[in-house]
Subunit: 285 residues, 2 copies
C-alpha cells in the first residue's frame, strides 16, 4: 500500500463504546488489528486528557497492541518534534470530538497538521469523530444552527485539516436536526458535496473515493450538481433560502457512494433478508 | 370562474394572527374580501367551539362581511342538510387545525365532505391550516414521528378529503423536524409529491396546479420521480431507510412550483433587492 492514500473513517459522533463497538473495531482493524499502533489526537476537546485516555482505554480493550496520545495542547506543543515521531510510528491516527475550531486553531499550519496529512497520503488510516470528522475536510463547518429549512448565515465555513477535499461533513446530523445547515453549505458552492453523518454512524472512504456506510443510523448526501437556482447571494441574514434541484441520497449501513462520480451504489455484499419478511406467505406480505 | 376549480390555500399551521396576517388576509381576499362569506370548519379540533369562534373573530377583524361556523361535531351532524346550505352559500371554506384523523373520521364519506369537494370544484376557495392542510389531499399523513433521517414506519397514510391528489402534505415542518417522515412517505410511492410546509407559511394552488408560496418560512418539496432505489419494502420497522436520488426544492415566499410538470419557477413579480446589497459599492459586496 506504499504510496497509496490511507482510508478515512469519519464518524457522526456518539459511536457505540460499550456494545458491539462496530465502528471503533473497524478503525482498529484498518489500523492493523492487534498489530496496530494507534495515536489519539484529542486536541479538539476541552477535556483533552480525559477524552484522550478514554479512547486509549477503548482501543486497548479492542486488543490494539500499542495506543498513545499526542501531547499537543497548544500551538507551541504543535511545533515540537516529539509528536512527529509518534505520528510517524502510528498505523492509525484517531481524532476525537470537541470543537473543530479549537482543533484547526491549534493545529492549523503546524508541522503536526502537515505530518498527519503526509502520513495519510502515505497510507495511514485516519479516523475522526464528531468535530474530528468535520475538521478532516478541506472546507469545514465552523458554526451553525439547527433546523430543517436552510437559512442564510445559519452556518459558516472555516478551513479544515484538508485530508479530503470536495466534501463538507456534518455530524450528529439527525440528533441535532442539521439538514438546513448542510443544504445552506452546499448552496454556497455546489462544487462541495454535503455529507451528513448520524450518531453511531460512519463513512469509510478508500483511496479511490468510494465511500461505505457503517453503523446504526443514516448518512444523508446533498448533491448540488443539478441545482438550477439559489437566492443565497441576495437574501438578508437568517432569511429562508430558496434552492431549486438538490439531489438527495439517504444511505444506511452497507451502502456505497462514489464521491468522484457522485453516484450511490448498492452494497457489494448482499444484505441479509430480515426475518420479518420471510415465512410461508412468501412475497405476499 | 363558473366550472373552474377554486384555489386551495394550505397553511403549515401557526399562521400569524396578530401582525400583518398575510396568509389569513390572502384567504379572505380569495374568498371575496369584504364581500366574502366564510364558513369555518373546526371539526378537526377537540376544542371545536373555541377554535371555530377564534377564526370567526379573526376573519371578522379582517372585514369579511359574513363569517359562520359549520356545526358538525360528529357523523350524525354531518348527515344533516343545514350545513350543506351553509356550504352552498360560502364563498370560502376554512378548515382549522386539530387532528386530521378526527376530521376524516367524522366527515369522511358524508354529504358534508362531498359538498366541500363539490363547492371546491365549482370555484369556492378552500383553506386549511395544520391538520386542515394535511387532510386536504387524497393521501394524508395520519401518524408520524419527528426526525431528519427517514425510517421505516415512522409515518402512516390514511385517506384524506381528496381536494387535491398527487401530493402528500406535511405541516409544522421545520418546527417539528419532519423531513424524515416526508421522505418516508414519498419512498412508499414516488407517484406522490411530498410537500412540507413550515409554520406561518402557505401554498396557494390555482386551478392549473401552479403553486405559490407565501408567508414567513419555507416549503420543502420532495420529488421522487428520479429515485433509482429504496429498500423500504425489505427493512424492519423503525430501521433507517436507504433512498437513492430524491430531488429536493426549498422555496420561500413568492416562488412557484408547477405540480403537473414538477418544476420550480422564479417569482413572476421580481422580488425587491434587499437594502443590504445596495450601495455605492455596487455588485462588489
Amino acid at each position: 500500500m506504499e504510496g497509496e492514500r490511507g482510508p478515512l473513517l469519519l464518524i457522526g459522533g456518539a459511536e457505540d463504546k460499550v456494545g458491539s463497538r462496530t465502528i471503533l473495531s473497524r478503525f482498529a482493524q484498518l489500523a492493523g488489528g492487534n498489530q496496530a499502533r494507534i495515536t489519539v489526537v484529542a486536541t479538539a476537546s476541552s477535556f483533552q486528557q480525559l477524552v484522550g485516555q478514554r479512547y486509549m482505554a477503548l482501543f486497548t480493550a479492542l486488543d490494539v497492541a500499542h495506543v498513545d496520545m499526542l501531547p499537543v495542547h497548544d500551538r507551541v506543543h504543535a511545533q515540537r518534534t516529539e509528536p512527529l515521531h509518534q505520528l510517524d510510528e502510528a498505523s492509525g491516527i484517531f481524532i476525537t470530538g470537541g470543537d473543530q475550531l479549537k482543533l484547526t486553531a491549534v493545529l492549523g499550519g503546524t508541522p503536526v497538521a502537515q505530518r498527519i496529512r503526509r502520513r495519510h497520503l502515505a497510507g495511514c488510516v485516519i479516523g475522526g469523530t464528531s468535530a474530528g470528522a468535520s475538521a478532516a475536510a478541506e472546507h469545514m463547518m465552523a458554526y451553525g444552527a439547527s433546523g430543517i429549512p436552510p437559512r442564510k448565515s445559519m452556518m459558516q465555513f472555516a478551513p479544515g485539516l484538508g485530508l479530503i477535499s470536495g466534501v463538507v461533513i456534518d455530524q450528529h446530523f439527525g440528533a441535532r436536526g442539521r439538514a438546513g445547515r448542510l443544504m445552506t453549505a452546499v448552496a454556497h458552492n455546489p462544487d462541495l458535496l454535503g455529507v451528513g453523518l448520524d450518531e453511531d454512524t460512519a463513512i469509510e472512504i478508500n483511496s479511490q473515493g468510494l465511500l461505505t456506510v457503517l453503523g446504526r443510523g443514516s448518512v444523508m448526501i446533498v448533491d448540488g450538481t443539478d441545482m438550477t437556482y439559489t437566492d443565497i447571494h441576495r437574501v438578508p441574514e437568517n432569511t429562508p433560502l430558496t434552492i431549486f434541484g438538490m439531489r438527495l441520497h439517504v444511505l444506511s449501513s452497507g451502502y456505497h457512494y462514489n464521491i468522484s462520480s457522485r453516484t450511490p451504489w448498492l452494497p457489494t455484499i448482499p444484505l441479509p433478508i430480515p426475518p420479518e419478511t420471510e415465512g410461508i406467505e412468501g412475497e405476499g406480505i
